[in-house]
Each structure stands twice: as C-alpha cells, then as structure tokens.
C-alpha cells in the first residue's frame, strides 16, 4: 500500500481564507488515521488536498516518496467514501461499482468478476440491479464502500461516511468498515467530528482546530495525555473540566486558588508550576471524587444506568462535571466536598500548552 506524508501544507482559498496552516503529518503504510476536529477546522480541506481536488498553496504531499501535488485525482489510485454516499443516481448499483473499472478500460469479464467480489465482500449481491434511490442509507454506504474497494486502491479517504446513518446502522457499518480495512490492509485517512467514532476506529488520531494540527497520537495518548487545552476539552465524553486557577504560595507550600476555594498541590505538581502564576487545571469527570462535606452542592444528577453523572456547584458558582462510580448516589441539593485524583490531573498554561 502507500504511505502519505504532508510537509508544511498550507491551503489559502481565493479571498484569503486560510483553511489549513503548516500541516505536517505522516500516515504509515496500512494505518487507520482519523482526522478529528470541529466543523471548519480544515480536516475536509486536508482530505480533499490528499485526494487531489485541491492543490496546496504551500508545502508538499508525498505518496511514498513521490510528490503528488500536481497529480490529478484520477491518477492517485485512491478510493473515496463520502457522507452523502455520492452514488451516481443515473446508474444502477452494478454500474456504480463498475464505474472506476470501466474508466480503467478493463475487459468485461474482469469487471464483472471484481464487481461481484466487491459486492459479496459487502453483502450487497442482491442489490446490484437497483438504483441508488431505492436503497436505504446503510445500503447506499455499502455500495459506496464497494465502489471504493473495487479498484483496489492504495489509499482510502473517508469523509464522515457514517454521519448520515441512524445510530444503530452506524455502529453496524462502522464495524464493517473496520473489518474491511483490517482485511485489506489499505492505508486509510478518515475524517470525522465525532470523537467517539474516532476513538473506536483509529490507530492514530490527528486532532485539528482552526486549520492547525493540535495533537497527533493514539486514542490512549489523546485521552490520557492531551497536549493542550483544546484537545483536553475536545476528547472525552462527558467533556473534561477545565478551570482557570491562580497559583498561590503559602507556608504549607503551593496551592491552587480556584472555584472560590483553595486546593493544596502535591509536591510533584508543585515543582512543575514553580514560578507560574496562572494555570488551567484539567480533570476528567471520573477523576473527581466527592464525599459528604461542605462547600460544594449537588446541582443536578442524571442516573445513566451504570454510573451517575452529576453537576457540582462550586462556591464561586462554577459547575463541575463529575461521574460517580457505580454504587455511589447523591441527592440534589446535598452539600459535599470535592477532591481530585492528582495523578490524572493536568495543568496547562493559560495560552493552552501543557505544563504537566
């Protein structure tokens, strides 16, 4: 298959909008890489540059060791799947799948053989005579996958392929997609705004925001070691708590002044913030412990079946997101005190970079 490398890639559109800035990225052979970010972050632009629809304003895109900036999409040997499925409405399912092969001018029998193979791989053999408009969303996306697979591409590009599907079908197609990618070992770049989808599919995730790469890493790394406040806030559901805090020196050592109260810092964290006056304190909802006490109040509680998700109101009015372990229950209005699992806490500079 193919490795993809982006080197200082920048895309500025006519009119001056800078969609992608100085992007460096390497996708390994056979890897499943997810481009994750909110809408408008430049992930789709990046994908379309890799597809060859857009040309980078600056920088280079390599397939293996070859610069492909000037290669037309048709010469890149990629298979692409879209959110809208993008099936050709005036062709039957069979013709849709056969289209890339017909363009390659393969012999008829070869086309027929490969279309049927691809169809059986995706369990749509019985749909070949239908028109796209007669299919359900899930079926359409299978056809689109078959069309991408049939040309035996070196690279898969997927632009939110699951976003238009119902929740149940989505999980089914997602599994199918993952299986297919594993089986064929095709390098895949997958765009989504859905972090749960990204976490479950990706070998590695590239988080983007405002045209820039925020962090590249495995789902684990992103979850446990977010490189900045953006990634910390974007990855994980419920979203992590991000609280601005002042570092104050007392006779007992360094303390964080936040939420209308003070929290003493353990020595390892204290050493790291020596000389810093303001930080952003990040803690995931499951790393906040509450116990009967005073100072904080239970603002709301939602029982989710296994655990309970609560909002805790701090003395200064801020609401903290907290996930209670199974078995622990609280009542709304109850006074509680709060502690943190400091091993999992991260501190960032106000500008967003990680301190510890």
């Amino acid at each position: 298959m193919v490795t993809v490398k982006l080197e200082n890639v920048t895309k500025i559109f006519r009119g001056g909008v800078e969609a992608v800035r100085d992007l460096n990225l390497e996708v390994k052979d056979g890897e499943f890489l997810v481009l994750l970010g909110p809408s408008g972050c430049g992930k789709t632009t990046t994908l379309l540059m890799i597809a060859g629809v857009y040309k980078p304003t600056k920088g280079y895109i390599y397939f293996d060791d070859k610069i492909v900036n000037d290669l037309e999409p048709k010469d890149r040997n990629i298979g692409m799947v879209f959110q809208s499925y993008a099936l050709y409405p005036h062709m039957s399912v069979y013709e849709n799948i056969a289209f890339p092969l017909r363009l390659k001018k393969l012999p008829k029998e070869e086309i027929d053989k490969r279309v049927r193979e691809a169809a059986s791989m995706l369990h749509i053999e019985n749909l070949l005579d239908r028109r796209p408009s007669q299919l359900s969303g899930g079926q359409q996306q299978r056809v689109a996958l078959a069309r991408a697979v049939v040309k035996q591409p070196g690279l898969f590009l997927m632009d939110e392929p699951l976003s238009n599907l119902d929740a149940k079908i989505r999980i089914e197609v997602r599994a199918e997609l993952k299986r297919l990618q594993r089986e064929l070992g095709i390098t895949t770049i997958y765009v989504t705004h859905d972090q749960a989808e990204a976490m479950s599919l990706a070998d590695r995730i590239a988080v983007m925001n405002e045209g820039r790469l925020m962090q590249l890493g495995t789902p684990d790394e992103l979850y446990y070691k977010p490189a900045n406040t953006f990634v910390a806030g974007f990855i994980g559901a419920p979203a992590a708590n991000l609280v601005e805090a002042d570092v104050v020196e007392t006779e007992r050592g360094l303390e964080l002044s936040m939420l209308g109260t003070r929290f003493p810092l353990p020595s390892d964290l204290a050493a790291a913030v020596q000389g810093v006056s303001r930080v952003v304190f990040m803690v995931r909802s499951e790393d906040v412990k509450i116990s009967p006490g005073k100072g904080f109040f239970v603002y709301s509680a939602e029982w989710l079946g296994r655990e309970t998700f609560v909002h805790i109101q701090a003395p200064d009015g801020t609401l903290l997101r907290v996930t209670l372990p199974p078995g622990q229950h609280v009542a709304v209005g109850e006074a509680v005190s709060v502690s943190f699992d400091y091993k999992k806490v991260h501190l960032y500079r106000p500008s967003g970079e990680l301190i510890v």
Binding site: F13, G15, L48, V53, Y54, K55, D70, L71, E72
Partner: protein, 303 residues
C-alpha cells in the same frame, strides 16, 4: 506533451467558456457600445458615419414629441406593472388556497400566453377587442342588439395593460405563489387560532412576509418593461391617433425601422436607446446592491 495541472484546467475553462463569452461580447456588449457611438452620429440609410457630437441629444430634448413619449412610457410601465403585480397576487393567493391540483393547474395555464408566439397572442387580442363589428366582443354585443364599442380607441391603455399583463402575470403569479408556499404553516395556524379572518391573514401575515418577493418582481419587471415594445408594435403600434401609445423605445424603433425605410434615422434613434440603456444599467446596479445578488455567486470548489 503532457500539460501541467494548472494549464490543463485553464485550457478546459477557456474552451468551455469561449463560445459563451464570445457570443456575449460580440452580440450583446459590442452592440451596446456601438449604440452609444451611433447616437453621436447622423448615421442614416446611407450608412455614413457623420459625427455630430451631442447634436442628437440636443435635438431630442428640444423635440415637441419628447413629452408625449416620456408620458406614454410612464403610463405604460406603471399600468402594466400594476396589472402584473395585482394579477400575480390574485393568482398566487387563489392558487395557494384552493385544492393543490387546481392551484398547480392555474399557475400552469397562466404560462400559456407567455409561450404563445407574440404574433398569435397579439392578433387574438386585436380580434377580441377589435373596434370593428366583426371583432369578437362586438359581434356578441351586436348579436345581443347593442351597438359595437370601439374598444381600442376608447380604452387603449387598459387594452395594452391586458395584452401585456397576461404575459407578465404568469411570472409574478409563480414568484408570489412559491413565496407564499414557503411561509411556514404554523404562522397561519397560529393566526387562525387567534381568531383572524382570512382577509386579516392575507393582509397582516402573508403580504408582509412576501414583501421582498413583491419588491423584487416590481424591480425586475420595471427593468424589462422600460425597454419592451413588442406587443405595442404588434397591436396599436403607437396609436390610436397622435403618439398616444408611442413609448420611448417604440419611438426609437419607428425612427430607425419605421415605414418602408424612409425613416432609418439611426443616429437619432440610438440617442433614445442610449438613454434607456443608461437607465437600465443604473437600475441593474441599484438592484444588485439592494437585493444583494452577490450571494448568488458563492465561489466554487474545483481547482
């Protein structure tokens, strides 16, 4: 030789655009410029370019005919516009309130006068409203024992409003209907629940909500009416009598191509046309601003 990506894109854009661009330049932009030039000459049947500066303009502004043709143009545009807008509203209001199939049918059938060849529509109207005894309406009146009415002499403006209005109303009817249909039903239901009558609903809810569509139609239609004369040419041709329906553009046409080429006063005719062209251009630019037509021009993706 293989072309680079940019070059092959440029070639594609050029090749596909060239016929249209050339046509527009050659047959629309160039003649518009040429008209302005001709207005500065005494070009006539001899086809000699004799420059005369703004002589034609001076001649026009001193012409006793000017007041007649300006007045006729104003009446023609205002009257037809009123007919088109009101009839369009009636078509839209009625066709959106009756049974869906009937409504669609009404809007469709109003396209008929528009697709009929202008000559046939004009002759039909001339026959129906003919001042002579064999005119269709008059033949009915005579049969009923009455005296024939000289319709086109007595009512030449209303006659022209009808002739043109049946063409224009199809457009306004369609525009207004689609605007009314896009009003969320919730508003109407809410008003009904509040006890509003049908008349109140039309006046207080529907009309205010489609006012931009009405404004757009009025603007657009004014532009096309100012320089249109085909149906006047085909029916009353400036008459009856002395310049009673001779609108500016028709006057220009008569000056240039009037009776048996005795006219052919191209230079002078082009003067009137140039004035109309300038008015048209100014109006277009104004509409462009007012209706923010730029948003129709979202930049495309392909590179």
């Amino acid at each position: 030789m293989k072309l680079s990506r940019e070059a092959s894109k440029k070639v594609l854009v050029l090749v596909m655009l060239l016929p249209a661009a050339a046509t527009i330049t050659l047959f629309l932009a160039f003649p518009a410029a040429l008209t302005v030039l001709i207005s500065l000459t005494e070009l006539d049947y001899r086809f000699q370019w004799i420059w005369c500066g703004v002589g034609n303009y001076a001649k026009l502004f001193n012409s006793p005919v000017l007041q007649f043709i300006v007045k006729a143009t104003a009446i023609y545009v205002a009257g037809t516009l009123a007919f088109n807008t009101l009839m369009g509203l009636v078509i839209a209001l009625v066709s959106t309130r009756v049974h869906e199939g009937l409504g669609t049918f009404i809007r469709a059938i109003w396209l008929l006068p528009r697709v009929l060849p202008s000559v046939v529509w004009a002759l039909l109207m001339m026959w129906i409203f003919s001042p002579l005894e064999h005119g269709f309406l008059n033949s009915l009146i005579v049969k009923a024992g009455g005296k024939p009415i000289p319709w086109t002499f007595l009512y030449h403006w209303p006659f022209l409003f009808i002739v043109n209005g049946f063409i224009g109303s199809s457009l306004s009817g369609i525009v207004f209907s689609s605007a009314i249909k896009s009003i969320p039903q919730d508003y109407i239901i809410a008003a009904r629940v509040d006890g509003a009558s049908s008349f109140t609903i039309v006046r207080k809810i529907i009309l205010p909500m489609i006012k931009w569509h009405i404004a757009f139609f009025v603007a657009y239609n004014t532009l096309s009416l100012i320089a249109s004369f085909e149906y006047i040419l085909l029916t009353l041709n400036g008459g009856p009598g002395f310049y009673s329906t001779e609108v500016m553009i028709l006057h220009a046409y008569h000056l240039a191509f009037g009776q048996y080429m005795v006219a052919m006063d191209f230079g002078y005719a082009a003067t009137i046309v140039t004035i109309l062209l300038v008015i048209g251009l100014v109006l277009s630019i104004a509409y462009w601003r007012v209706f923010r037509l730029r948003r129709l021009m979202i930049e495309p993706k392909l590179e």
